[in-house]
């Protein structure tokens, strides 16, 4: 941490920036943007066009990034809280999205898989789905908080069963939701040129910001993650706080499920939100948050989520096959985590110091 001690004026602004956690995802974002700018400036082109429904919408790579990255960003909110409080990650979010989407379809379509009109208002469907996924979140939370099972193992249960439960809810049928309104959540609302998922995500960010600002959940979950015993001695209830973070993640899952299902108006139990748990955990890690709990920076996680989508879109742009995508992602992730590893950082800063001091010595002797 040599930057911290640097007394020089120019350095302190720079080091302040460097020390800020949000620097890591932003640096990755800028690197990716520069790479794209050099490789192909048309990557950033935006144009207005008419979609099949006759609305004027914005299109382009950037729009596709903020469109598809939004689900991940919403999940990252919940995942950050869970990581901070319970020192572990929830690996069942993908399966939980399948359940939540399945419940939503079940309520909207009733017993008939090809209904003429929707059987219940969308808001009712969403509320039922939200309650269901919050219950599953609470199930995970109880296992983690009260039975003291490691989060990854506890959520492994739902990870194994989730997609099966989702298929069971709808009797393995694939209902299709009729009507135009339902597609708005995953597509475009007439008259608004921005994709709705992004608008929903922004709404979620505002709610999260208000929540962190006006309630103690952020502070409490950090304190539980840093030292559970001390938190208890200070009058907190660590179990309840952990449980709460899992329930909040459940709510995030329900919102994501709504967007995912709305994109297709139907569901595919084994494919929907596949591997999204990995991406959500990556978003948290990319944001520079420790995966072993404690302090967190919500904005950094959210930026991290969009960085991942940026990377995905960039790779698609270079004609990388969808199935080969993970290999490239893995290389980027390894490079990032190696760079941010404390051991490597320390070595690097020591090296910088050496160079600097030798430079000083040279200047003085001259």
């Amino acid at each position: 941490m040599s930057e911290k001690l640097d007394p020089r004026g120019k350095g302190s602004v720079l080091s302040g920036l460097l020390r800020n956690q949000i620097f890591i995802p932003f640096a990755a974002l800028i690197l990716l943007a520069l790479f794209n700018l050099i490789a192909d400036p048309s990557f950033f082109a935006l144009n207005m066009k008419q979609n099949s429904a006759g609305n004027y919408i914005l299109s382009g790579n950037l729009i596709s990034i903020i469109d598809n990255g939004s689900e991940l960003a919403i999940l990252a909110i919940g995942m950050t809280l869970v990581t901070a409080a319970s020192k572990g990650q929830d690996i069942s979010v993908g399966a939980a999205i399948a359940i939540s989407g399945s419940v939503l379809l079940r309520v909207l379509c009733g017993d008939n898989t090809r209904p003429e009109t929707i059987q219940a208002p969308i808001i009712v469907g969403f509320l039922v789905a939200a309650v269901a996924s919050m219950l599953f979140g609470a199930f995970n939370g109880v296992l983690v908080a009260y039975f003291r099972i490691q989060p990854m193992v506890a959520t492994l249960i739902l990870f194994t069963a989730g997609r099966s439960i989702a298929a069971w809810i709808n009797n393995n049928e694939l209902p299709i939701v009729p009507g135009e309104e339902f597609t708005y959540f995953g597509g475009y609302i007439p008259g608004i040129p921005l994709p709705t998922p992004f608008l929903i995500a922004i709404l979620c960010f505002i709610i999260t910001w208000l929540m962190l600002k006006f309630t103690n959940i952020g502070l409490y979950s950090q304190s539980v993650g840093i030292n559970e015993k001390t938190s208890r001695l200070n009058g907190l209830n660590p179990e309840l706080i952990k449980l709460t973070t899992y329930v909040i993640l459940g709510l995030c899952v329900a919102v994501t499920g709504l967007i995912k299902v709305s994109r297709l108006s139907t569901i595919n139990y084994s494919v929907i939100a596949k591997d999204i748990e990995m991406d959500a955990i990556l978003a948290v890690a990319l944001g520079g948050n420790s995966l072993s709990g404690g302090k967190f920076n919500m904005a950094a996680s959210i930026v991290g989520a969009y960085v991942i989508q940026f990377l995905t879109t960039t790779l698609y742009k270079f004609d990388v096959q969808a199935t080969a995508l993970p290999a490239y992602k893995a290389v980027v992730v390894i490079v990032l985590v190696v760079m941010s590893a404390p051991v490597v950082r320390e070595k690097f800063s020591r090296l910088m110091k050496k160079i600097r001091s030798s430079g000083h010595a040279a200047a003085e002797s001259a």
Partner: protein
């Protein structure tokens, strides 16, 4: 920390006389035996034949090997979720090598071991020496392996290499356990080579973990890193070694899987890592580290396989029942583990305070 006591906590009571490791293993073995007996009694037709058991082993030899590696890593307090991906990569690479390059089987085995070892070395180095979280490193490993599999070859295909087909078809006949079919012909019971490999791996790891210094070091590191360091154990090297062995076993498991299915496909061994983790946990390994047993893992993997077979033969053959039953089983085991361990912790705490008082009394008397 109860885990530190695993080696020598012998206290009164029926179950108290066992270490955590042995207690959890015993539960697993009992559950497996009871489950199998129930299957024999209630679903006579299939389960009475010894061949049913052998078929279970044939189909799950690779899972047993992967779970053994996973158990080792989990004993040191880590996790390796790249094993499924490595399995798929090994299958695809060997398949492409055998069919398109016309290579021989021996080199294919070396190739499989090499891939596994390479993953183990890199992941072990990043985790042990650079202190990066195991989950993130092996997650990237899994992504990399899955991606590489499709880069090596996109479409699934069957291997027709003669040497390999011969190896794949090799069956080891087990005397006296065969059965008579409807026509009255005697059919020999058999196992595939993979089963032998799996049992050898289990035996070797059991010996290593039980009776060698390196093996005990794994438990010490997983139980409490700090104390292990104080005892003069090279913690980094031990952690590194566990990932290297796990990687190597992933290579072996990959080849055994390849011998069983005889094809390369990107979708091979999907979710195998989760099954391996589940087997280890059902077998009594704890993710906190320091507690675990290879024999338990063997029975854990077999329990998982048996329950799948039971579910499908009871007639609940809708795909979702398998997932739900495995998850329910996992849930029960985890809760039981957690309850036992927490009760034991309390008991140990009270007993050790009583011990301390007694010791003080004795001290006073002797003085």
């Amino acid at each position: 920390m109860t885990q530190i006591r695993t080696a020598g906590s012998r206290r009164g009571g029926l179950l108290g006389g066992m270490t955590d490791t042995n207690l959890l293993t015993t539960i697993t073995v009992c559950v497996f035996v009871v489950m199998y007996l129930c299957a024999v009694i209630f679903l006579q037709e299939g389960f009475l034949k010894p061949q049913t058991l052998f078929n279970l082993m044939n189909a799950n030899a690779a899972l047993i090997i992967l779970s053994c590696g996973m158990t080792l890593v989990m004993i040191t307090g880590g996790i390796d979720i790249s094993v499924g991906g490595v399995t798929a990569l090994v299958c695809m690479s060997c398949a492409v090598y055998l069919d398109e390059a016309g290579g021989n089987v021996f080199v294919a085995v070396l190739l499989a071991l090499g891939i596994g070892l390479a993953f183990g070395l890199v992941q072990g180095f990043l985790i042990a020496y650079l202190d990066i979280q195991p989950f993130i490193v092996t997650l990237a490993g899994m992504f990399f392996a899955r991606g590489m599999t499709t880069i090596v070859h996109t479409n699934p295909f069957n291997v027709v290499n003669e040497g390999f087909v011969e190896l794949k078809g090799t069956r080891l006949i087990i005397p006296f356990l065969g059965s008579v079919n409807k026509k009255g012909n005697y059919i020999d019971a058999y196992v595939e080579i993979g089963v032998v490999v799996a049992l050898l791996v289990v035996a070797a790891l059991f010996v290593i973990l039980k009776w060698t210094k390196t093996g005990r070091n794994f438990y010490a590191v997983g139980g409490n890193r700090q104390s292990a360091l104080m005892l003069g154990i090279n913690v980094r090297k031990t952690t590194f070694l566990s990932y290297v062995i796990c990687g190597l076993l992933a290579g072996v498991g990959g080849f055994v899987y390849f011998m069983h299915v005889g094809s390369g496909a990107p979708s091979h061994a999907m979710g195998a890592e989760m099954n391996a983790i589940a087997s280890s946990i059902i077998g009594g390994t704890m993710l906190t580290g320091g507690v675990g047993n290879i024999i338990g893992t063997l029975f854990g993997a077999m329990s998982l396989a048996t329950i799948q077979t039971i579910v499908s033969s009871v007639g609940l053959d809708q795909a979702w029942w398998t997932g739900i039953t495995i998850a329910a089983m996992l849930c029960i085991f985890l809760v039981v583990q957690s309850v036992i361990i927490s009760r034991r912790k309390k008991k140990n705490a009270t007993v050790s305070s009583a011990d301390a008082q007694e010791a003080e009394k004795k001290k006073g008397e002797s003085e």
